[in-house]
């Protein structure tokens, strides 16, 4: 069993190590017995723990507030896929197809916004076969030193698709290959520090906060989160 996916969970409730493949297996076998890391809240504001090297800022969803309206998809797409109109660069028309954040809706009603989890152990970058640049230390896929978002160097990327597979097999499957170039897309950009999805969500379901890794549902595929939340919300056994 590879230890590539293991990292320490910075949560006082749980000091266990976890491996997501194990986790998926457990969920599949006996969903009802699995306790999801024992975390109680979704966001773990860093407070005074700024020195924690694994603490970073990202988009966090409060699933209980999301109504599935997909406004986030349209504003993400508009901001990150700008259009040149009469020589002027303007926000796009918000085609959800190009959005980095995606809403997955279920029956019974559960709506799961899925954006890049910026996983501290970045299996996508691990999977990138392009040699590290001796100067910058970056592979084609790399973590931006300032914002910690995952970026792709289009010039060096070979379009091998390893990162796509890694994200799909080990995490939530956010990274999608471009249909023409096969190069990775849909990594969250944090919109230059002003995430549009957070700004425009009509329901306040998204926040841009400092988090610690090992939060509940981090990097977990939407299907599995939905399954767990359906059980919690719609079950009458409690």
């Amino acid at each position: 069993m590879g230890n590539m996916n293991n990292y320490k969970i910075e949560n006082p409730d749980s000091q266990m190590k976890y491996n997501r493949r194990d986790f998926i297996k457990k969920m599949a076998i006996g969903g009802s017995t699995v306790i999801l890391f024992g975390c109680r809240s979704l966001a773990q504001p860093s407070g005074g723990k700024a020195k924690n090297p694994l603490t970073y800022s990202m988009i966090l969803a409060d699933y209980s507030k999301c109504t599935g309206c997909r406004t986030c998809e349209t504003v993400c797409s508009a901001y990150n896929h700008k259009q040149m109109v009469n020589g002027e660069v303007l926000p796009g028309l918000g085609n959800p197809h190009y959005s980095n954040i995606k809403i997955y809706s279920y029956n019974p009603d559960v709506d799961i916004p899925v954006a890049c989890a910026m996983c501290p152990d970045n299996p996508c970058i691990e999977a990138c076969p392009v040699a590290s640049d001796p100067k910058t230390g970056r592979k084609a896929l790399y973590r931006d030193e300032k914002t910690l978002v995952i970026k792709n160097d289009l010039n060096r990327c070979t379009g091998c698709g390893n990162c796509v597979e890694a994200c799909r097999d080990q995490r939530a499957g956010v990274i999608i290959p471009n249909p023409e170039t096969n190069k990775p897309e849909r990594m969250c950009t944090l919109c230059n520090g002003d995430p549009q999805c957070v700004k425009y969500c009509p329901y306040g379901a998204l926040s841009f906060v400092t988090v610690s890794p090992g939060r509940e549902f981090q990097g977990v595929p939407a299907d599995m989160i939905a399954k767990e939340l359906t059980k919690r919300w719609y079950s009458i056994q409690n």
Partner: protein, 615 residues
């Protein structure tokens, strides 16, 4: 390729289920300018395709259309609506030389289907023909496939919703489908979307007649707009409508209770359908209203880009139906299966709503039909044997559930009941037509009319039969025809009143101008609404609908309310007739025949309808 109009793909997806062939068809530029999209463009296509009156609605020739509008797919608040347009399987005129004469039918549904049709590269889907075996359609941008649906035939909508998306393998497909009621061609079957939203009033019956279980759509395109910068500015302005004091108040009310907020309010006002419309107030209304339902509501959910999230889903926590998960009650479902049937058992009511939705029945018509049967049974006009042994008494939820089963499966009494209240009363006779609550054959909805004569005008003159959404005045009818055509939800609008919160005509004209590049004024928008309403009327007129069909059931004129704050309220025939005269005068229609006047039709650009020798 011809020049595309900004804001549109300029293309309809034309699918013939008999031949199994599909092809994109260009939409005439003039039709777009005159009929906008949605309900309006659908009606123009209906006119073009039907060509003559009297076509059997259940025949392969009757087109079934899914029509988004020019707002659909753009991030405009609640630009979520799709209008399903077809020829009605529910209605018929008093006199006509055509055995299959019926009105137009349109039904507006929210969710995500309309926007996705536009993402797939179409301004609408037109389905004709009949598949030789149960089928479903998958539309993935320009790839269209018709697949076998045998294994899904007979499946309830709740289970189908889950299984179908698994079969498609991508949750980003948007689907709509029928349940057993549609398959069995119950005349008032629905088309269901997301297991919670419905295009009602008989559209599901047409889908069933085509052997079509479901449609799935997925796409990646969006049309260009004429003025990008102006569009973004208009959008920004539209979003402001939901901010500030009045805007926040509007969103708060909708988010808190959805349409269920009016359940208790309407009963208090005497405007609710209670005991088959005999009364307007229900003494036990507090047991089935929003505040009672709140105890099991868990989540709010919204349609595409909507800030209102009026839908509520939850789980029944105890009693015989513990564990039942569903959304509602909403005003219509809660009233038609609740107050109208004297049901005060909220858990039982939710079970009935779930079953109705799962079968894919229009709960408005189903509740109306069951209310009629209950009254006929109480009066001794029909006996228990007629009801296949069901003890169909007011408030008896078990009996109601049994009737719902019978109707959806068209078993025994359910076969006759599946044809609607007009057909039922015709069969039963004995003056039962006095309490058969329909107009033109379509059942009235959950708003009663004793205390609100303009609502009577709305029901009587609506082009699809007794529709509560048509509008109480000529102006409201025109406004709503326009709203249904641009693809936006009425709940986000100011209902045509500038002093109410929500999006107004100034927003619509600004946005539509930016999208199309054509200077749309408020007046032009309203004129389009009038044009669309008149085209519908011309189709109905050609089928043989006249003034005698614009009538209300006797109950509202002969039996005053006997309980509630509005006790004694009743409509007066003469006054109502005068209101109708006034209505036709404003419309420019002949008060005797209701035929739209030549000059009015010419002014609206509808002269072509007069060239039809069949009128």
């Amino acid at each position: 390729m011809a020049h595309k109009k900004p804001g549109y793909h300029g293309v309809l997806l034309d699918i013939n289920l008999t031949t199994g062939k599909s092809s994109p068809k260009k939409i005439s530029s003039q039709d777009i300018d005159m009929f906008i999209g949605g309900r309006g463009l659908g009606m123009k296509i209906l006119w073009d395709r039907l060509k003559k009156p009297g076509i059997d609605p259940l025949s392969p020739e009757n087109p079934l259309m899914f029509m988004p509008g020019p707002f659909s797919g753009f991030p405009i608040p609640s630009s979520s609506r799709t209008c399903v347009v077809t020829k009605s399987p529910c209605t018929s005129p008093l006199h006509s030389s055509y055995p299959f004469a019926s009105t137009v039918s349109y039904s507006n549904v929210g969710g995500f289907f309309g926007p996705e049709i536009r993402f797939a590269g179409y301004d609408g889907i037109v389905i004709t023909g009949r598949a030789s075996a149960p089928a479903y359609i998958v539309i993935d941008n320009d790839r269209v496939e018709i697949r076998e649906a045998k294994k899904f035939w007979g499946m309830g909508t709740d289970e189908f919703d889950k299984k179908f998306i698994e079969e498609l393998g991508d949750r980003r497909f948007r689907t709509c489908y029928i349940g057993p009621a549609g398959e069995n061609q119950v005349s008032y079957a629905c088309i269901i979307h997301t297991a919670a939203r419905a295009a009602g009033r008989g559209t599901g019956c047409i889908m069933g007649s085509k052997n079509l279980k479901a449609i799935a759509v997925r796409g990646s395109m969006i049309p260009d707009v004429a003025d990008h910068k102006q569009f973004l500015a208009a959008l920004e302005k539209a979003n402001q409508a939901f901010k500030g004091i009045s805007g926040t108040l509007l969103t708060k009310i909708w988010r808190r209770s959805g349409t269920a907020v009016t359940i208790e309010r309407s009963s208090k006002k005497g405007s609710m359908a209670v005991k088959n419309y005999r009364e307007g107030t229900f003494s036990e209304i507090d047991k089935i209203g929003a505040d009672a339902a709140r105890k099991f509501w868990i989540r709010d959910f919204a349609c595409f880009c909507c800030p209102l999230s009026c839908k509520k889903s939850g789980v029944i926590k105890n009693g015989a139906y513990a564990g039942l998960i569903h959304d509602g009650p909403e005003y219509e479902t809660g009233t038609m299966f609740g107050a109208n049937l004297m049901v005060s058992d909220l858990e039982g009511l939710m079970k009935a709503i779930f079953n109705g939705d799962d079968y894919g029945l229009d709960i408005i018509s189903t509740g109306n039909v069951i209310g009629f049967l209950m009254e006929a049974y109480e009066k001794g006009i029909i006996d228990k044997e007629f009801l296949d042994g069901i003890e169909l008494k007011w408030g008896n939820i078990d009996a109601i559930l049994k009737m719902i089963d019978k109707i959806a499966k068209r078993e025994g009494v359910g076969d006759l009941a599946s044809k609607g209240v007009k057909a039922l009363s015709k069969r039963i006779g004995k003056d039962s037509e006095k309490f058969a609550i329909h107009v033109k054959g379509l059942e009235l909805a959950a708003w009663n009319v004793h205390v609100e004569p303009p609502k009577g005008i709305c029901y009587a003159t609506s082009n699809r039969g007794a529709c509560h959404q048509s509008g109480n005045t000529v102006e409201a009818q025109n406004f709503r025809a326009m709203i249904d055509s641009i693809g936006i939800c009425r709940f986000t609008t100011d209902w045509g009143h500038w002093y109410l919160p929500g999006l107004g005509s100034d927003n619509f004209s600004r946005i539509l101008t930016a999208i199309t590049g054509i200077e749309w004024t408020k007046e032009e928008l309203m004129k389009s609404g009038e044009r669309i309403f008149n085209l519908e009327k011309m189709i109905n007129y050609r089928e043989g609908f006249r003034r005698v069909d614009d009538n209300l059931p006797d109950r509202f004129f002969e039996e005053p309310l006997s309980v509630g704050s509005e006790k004694g309220a009743v409509l007066h025939r003469e006054k109502f007739s005068e209101m109708l005269d006034e209505y036709y005068k404003i419309r420019g229609w002949d008060p005797e025949t209701t035929k739209p006047g030549k000059s009015r039709l010419e002014r609206l650009g509808l002269s072509f309808t007069l060239q039809d020798h069949q009128i």
